[in-house]
Symmetry: C2
């Protein structure tokens, strides 16, 4: 599947912006050990500081810049916000990898694996500081929007961890992902509007579009976390079950299972560790309930609603087509 | 030793500000598990959410509000900055306790000890978000000053951790504490000036005063980390040696020791763990070099310079006296 144009258009601009944002500003004294690892994390260089092709989809800043341009805004005005948003996302990844004890990200060792947990916490904290610093350069309104989105994201991450300890219905689940994943994607669209001087009505449509895309994006992620091809996603099949994530599929299964199915789920998830056999058992149960199809339908439903919001945006027909290409990509992505 | 007036004057105002800043703003959906633990951490309540007498010295917001008032500023204008600064400090404590694996703070279990490392990382992240949100309410200049101070603090914490792996001279050490500890104290004074509309010259004096006080404060801390009374500080004697902190005393000892002394230090600090016997050996070496006296003299020297800057500030004589009382307290504090 080819990469949608929106993710290619501003790649060079974003890479250069990241390069400038992650430069160590200190002139005298001991150089900070943190800046090199931040550049490594976003994929500007390898472990030895050697320049490499930048990694990651850069979905959020690409959406922000593309939408700002379509709304008649200036890229230069929107860029600090786009960089700020990408840095918020990357700060959360550094801390997430510690929390989930993930050793590999984008095919390379994670930050904590390279420099230890203690220093990796600092690295994430510094990335967050630099994110807000960039956001402030986009003006007070954009900065406030980005800070609010980052705050919601952290709250969502807190809920996600708390949900590992208990069962949640799909409504609580949606509330959690609206914060954890949705907030930054919504913010990408809304901040595009803010930096372009869009009207209140357009800002509301942008927020709704972002919210629906965020839900579709995360639910597709959850689908891949259970049924994804490990060779493509980089995570083994059923990995979300193994780590007891109360993701959309398992919340749905719990809601739709009969008493027997529920007691299987209760038993499996009550264990300290979940065996491969139990992972298979849960997937079998889900398959018997057609959960994969229901989850796929939920993704489609959110994308349909997203397209309705998209149709109301005052952008060019070419821009709308490119957004639709991105939406189709998000619906079908395998990693 | 009685508590200086400056630390008492605005205590109620600060506690109320913290209470408001740490209120969960969510109205629907699942309540965040993070807000209660933030209130616990700053000492507004106990583990069960029951109100207790707030803990901590609240040095930074007290300095900020007192100085703002003395410079003719309005407390209401300065308060969001003061709360923001105290939240930055507290965010760093939550993450520090994880990094140092400290189980007790202010006589109670640390955040990570109560809710686990993963969720404690989120708690610190959320505290930082709320800090910046408050800072933004004090205006763009104050927010930028607080963000810059927080960034420097994180860089300093990164250096502090990196220094555990190597020897540093006292100059690199001062560079590190200017960031790690000094940045927030300097920021307290400077932001007091910013929110009071002080002139550039006054802002420079405020920064210098804060820098010297910050150095004195941290070097006194380092002295207590080696020779402090464990019953008062809550940390065993020699605790900084045990955790291989390259604090001021050991950097000074390394600089002043002869070849024999240096090789003792090299050997002791090269070990995976430092025994109680080796801690005693390092303290004996320091005592033979009169390190404790030199460190005490360094504290006095920075406080003398701080008083010179204080004398140049356009504040009331009564205010100057109260600042001098605080300075004397910092020079003699036992915890």
């Amino acid at each position: 599947m080819s990469v949608p144009k929106i993710l290619e258009l501003y790649r060079g601009t974003i890479e250069q912006g990241l390069e400038e944002a992650l430069r160590d500003p200190s002139t005298g004294g001991a150089p900070s050990p943190l800046y090199p690892i931040l550049r490594y994390h976003v994929g500007l260089c390898d472990e030895d500081g050697k320049r490499v092709k930048a990694l990651g989809k850069m979905l959020r800043p690409s959406l922000l810049l593309f939408t700002a341009h379509e709304l008649g805004g200036e890229i230069d005005r929107a860029l600090p916000a786009a960089i700020g948003l990408e840095l918020v996302h990357n700060f959360s990844l550094i801390h997430d990898d510690i929390q989930d004890q993930d050793e590999i990200r984008r095919g390379r060792p994670t930050v904590w694996k390279l420099i230890g947990v203690a220093q990796a916490i600092n690295a994430g904290d510094l990335m967050y500081s630099l994110a807000i610093d960039n956001a402030l350069h986009a003006g007070a309104d954009a900065a406030a929007a980005i800070l609010a989105a980052a705050t919601a994201m952290i709250e969502g991450q807190g809920l996600d961890l708390a949900f590992e300890e208990r069962w949640v219905n799909t409504r609580s689940y949606i509330d959690m992902i609206d914060k954890k994943t949705g907030a930054l994607i919504r913010c990408a669209f809304r901040t595009a509007g803010i930096t372009s001087g869009a009207r209140e009505e357009t800002l509301a449509t942008l927020s709704s579009l972002g919210e629906e895309l965020g839900r579709a994006f995360q639910i597709r992620d959850d689908l891949l976390g259970v049924w994804g091809n490990g060779d493509v996603t980089g995570k083994p099949k059923g990995s979300d079950i193994k780590r007891k994530k109360k993701s959309f599929p398992v919340s749905l299964a719990m809601q739709q299972a009969d008493e027997g199915g529920r007691s299987i789920l209760e038993r499996v998830y009550a264990q300290e560790r979940i065996s491969d056999g139990d992972v298979e058992r849960v997937i079998d149960l889900m398959d018997s309930l057609n959960v994969k199809e229901s989850v796929g339908e939920a993704v489609e439903q959110h994308l349909r609603t997203a397209r309705e919001h998209l149709d109301r945006l005052p952008i060019s027909e070419e821009g709308r087509e490119m957004m639709n290409e991105l939406i189709a990509y998000l619906a079908r992505r395998e990693k």
